[in-house]
């Protein structure tokens, strides 16, 4: 603050503070707070807004419990409301997407940070970035085409003789997972790359010299060092996946529902912004809880991630 003042003078310093404050207060906190407030009020005709019926309650939140369907949770058959079911699936598969992006990004970032010669790095990063230039919609549709029943994937597999009959790929959650992994893998890769790049290569060599096999070097030296990077990547991928609307909409099927689609349905089709807001906040809160829980289990501090 004082540093800013000394460096840029009075005018610019207040401009920075003012703009940051405007962005936070007017564009983030205020609209969110409005939604949060309205999530506790009933959905009423305009004439009744502010009337005797317009009282605070958690009825909107309880709407998630309407109806019953069967669901199998870790081998247990339970009856559960369809919205809760979609909600749980969204959290579960977002976690799975996060894990898969980690499995892909870890070896890749290790290769980029420690193996490849620095000369070819710019080219490799460019190759990684190119898909980001294409919009998310196009990329999702590209996967939709690849995975289509008469699409190229089935075609190639049949031509190679791996399968005899077309497989219906776009069914259940698999295509959604594929799409989300493809869309968000770079959000895992870059923090992981940054973390690994900051590891002194001598430590890897020292572990090697002391007799450690490659897997133990990863387990005891590289992985612990990369933990903050993994955490920051995982938080991003998990939050983005759980909040993704487009990928599940394009690559989803009748047997896959994403909670964002539920929220969208309530807000845009039922026009019930109050319940929609309640559902959105539920997703936000539960996702935050899941992230906090994961951070507690893996002993990561928030300050580690912010680095």
């Amino acid at each position: 603050m004082q540093d800013l003042y000394r460096r840029y003078g009075k005018g610019l310093t207040w401009a920075f503070i003012g703009l940051t404050f405007f962005w936070l207060a007017v564009l983030v906190i205020l609209p969110d707070f409005t939604l949060f407030e309205s999530s506790f009020r009933p959905y009423l005709p305009i004439s009744e807004v502010g009337g005797p019926k317009d009282t605070y309650s958690i009825n909107n939140y309880l709407r998630i419990f309407g109806g019953e369907v069967a669901m199998n949770i870790f081998g247990l058959d339970v009856m559960i409301s369809p919205r809760v079911k979609v909600f749980l699936y969204t959290i579960w598969y977002s976690g799975m997407v996060t894990f898969v992006t980690f499995l892909i990004a870890y070896p890749l970032s290790y290769y980029l940070a420690k193996v490849v010669s620095p000369k070819s790095l710019p080219t490799l990063f460019l190759l990684l970035f190119v898909p980001l230039w294409v919009s998310e919609v196009l990329r999702s549709f590209a996967w939709w085409i690849i995975l289509a029943f008469k699409g190229p994937l089935n075609g190639v597999l049949m031509a190679l003789g791996v399968i005899e009959k077309e497989i219906r790929w776009i069914d259940g959650y698999s295509p959604v997972i594929v799409g989300l992994v493809y869309t968000y893998v770079l959000f895992m890769l870059f923090p992981l790359y940054n973390a690994m790049q900051s590891l002194d290569s001598n430590q890897i060599e020292a572990a090697d010299d002391l007799g450690a096999p490659w897997w133990r070097i990863h387990w005891r030296v590289i992985l612990p060092h990369a933990k903050p990077g993994i955490a920051s990547g995982a938080v991003m991928v998990f939050m983005l996946s759980a909040g993704s609307l487009l990928v599940p909409a394009v690559l989803g099927s009748t047997t896959s529902g994403w909670f964002t689609q539920t929220i969208q349905g309530i807000m845009l089709e039922e026009q019930d912004w109050n319940s929609g807001a309640a559902f959105a906040f539920m997703l936000l809160i539960v996702c935050t809880l899941v992230v906090s829980l994961a951070m507690w289990i893996f002993r990561v501090k928030l300050s580690d991630i912010a680095k």
Partner: protein, 361 residues
């Protein structure tokens, strides 16, 4: 446990650059051997080749008589101490030290016990459960040594491990390293660009320049009987005079220079080469009257009091600069600039040397 190291015609090329050029040396078991040279002379490459991180492009390395080519670092009986130590910051001190044992599947109780024994060996008690960041530079140094000793290596390789420490600590750690080496009996190979460090600690020193080993000898010989100008200049200061050999016999020669003809040692290795006269400043005697031989009249130009010695710069009649170093005995008066005096040196303390024994070879 210790082992000999044999470098047999070892070369290492990086593309067109020859980092190590036909190095031949045998290091005895239990010896403290230093490779001394300026940065970029190839000494670190030699260390990396012995430890297995770099493969030689020519020649053979034998450890304990066995050819180690193709063996991975973790298959060699060597332990490397890195210049920046490369301690694991996310492990405690004892976990650091016991890492090599953990890798070998030693159980936790034994590991802990061994780590504490090693901590005692390096004089670092009660630090087992601290983190690396809580230790001072010298303490980290000891942890790195203990970690390397834990795997009971036959050979310890040290890559300028003292360079990050301050002067006092560095001098203390020299003695410490030497003592640990004596206690464990492990062969130590030490890399440094600090001639004081190499001379003070080593049994033998190998001086390197441009990938070649210039001279291998005990510290005294390196300093008193350098084989060429490079070694003489790298391990100490010199007055260097150009001139021609007049007549040589029995290891001595008279040498005519622009400021007179002097007698000096003529090492066998110098025969038949373009030579210069090297005289160490501390071997120059300053007196009011000329000495019996090898004496030259000078005018003092600058007298610098350095504490333990006094550095006297002087100029001869024809403008040649000479330096003498006088020991500060506490009583003697310090000469003043402008005084006319004589500089004399003993033939036994001055050598006729080529610039480099390998130049043009």
């Amino acid at each position: 446990m210790s082992a000999s190291i044999e470098l047999d015609n070892v070369c290492c090329d990086f593309g067109n650059f020859r980092a190590v050029d036909h190095v031949n040396v045998t290091i005895q078991p239990g010896e403290f051997f230093s490779f001394l040279g300026p940065s970029g002379c190839g000494k670190t490459t030699i260390l990396r080749m012995i430890s297995g991180f770099t493969e030689p492009t020519g020649g053979v390395i034998r450890i304990g008589g066995k050819d180690v080519s193709g063996l991975r670092p973790n298959q060699r009986p060597t332990a490397l101490i890195f210049q920046n130590l490369a301690l694991f910051p996310l492990m405690t001190i004892w976990e650091n030290i016991a890492f090599g044992l953990e890798v070998r599947g030693v159980d936790k109780v034994t590991r802990r016990k061994r780590a504490e024994e090693l901590l005692a060996l390096v004089d670092l008690h009660d630090s087992a459960d601290k983190m690396v960041s809580q230790l001072s530079g010298g303490q980290k140094q000891r942890v790195a040594i203990a970690r390397a000793l834990a795997v009971e290596p036959a050979v310890m390789l040290l890559d300028e491990p003292l360079s990050a420490l301050d002067l006092k600590l560095r001098q203390h750690m020299r003695a410490e390293l030497r003592a640990i080496q004596k206690r464990t009996g492990v062969t130590f190979i030490y890399i440094t660009h600090d001639q004081g460090e190499a001379l003070a600690m080593s049994d033998r020193v190998g001086v390197m320049s441009q990938g070649r080993l210039q001279q291998v000898a005990g510290p005294r010989d390196i300093y008193n009987n350098p084989v060429n100008g490079f070694v003489a200049s790298f391990v100490g200061e010199n007055n260097i005079l150009k001139g021609d050999v007049q007549n040589a016999s029995e290891g001595r020669a008279s040498f005519s220079t622009a400021i007179g003809t002097f007698t000096a040692k003529l090492p066998d290795s110098s025969a038949g080469k373009d030579l210069k006269l090297y005289i160490r400043p501390e071997h120059v005697i300053l007196s009011a009257k000329p000495g019996a031989e090898n004496s030259v009249p000078v005018t003092l130009t600058e007298v610098a009091f350095e504490g333990n010695f006094i550095s006297v710069h002087a100029v001869t009649e024809n403008g040649t600069d000479l330096v003498a170093e006088l020991r500060n005995d506490g009583a003697g008066s310090v000469p003043t600039p402008g005084t006319q005096m004589h500089m004399t040196f003993d033939a036994a303390n001055s050598s006729l040397l080529p610039d480099s024994t390998t130049a043009g070879a």
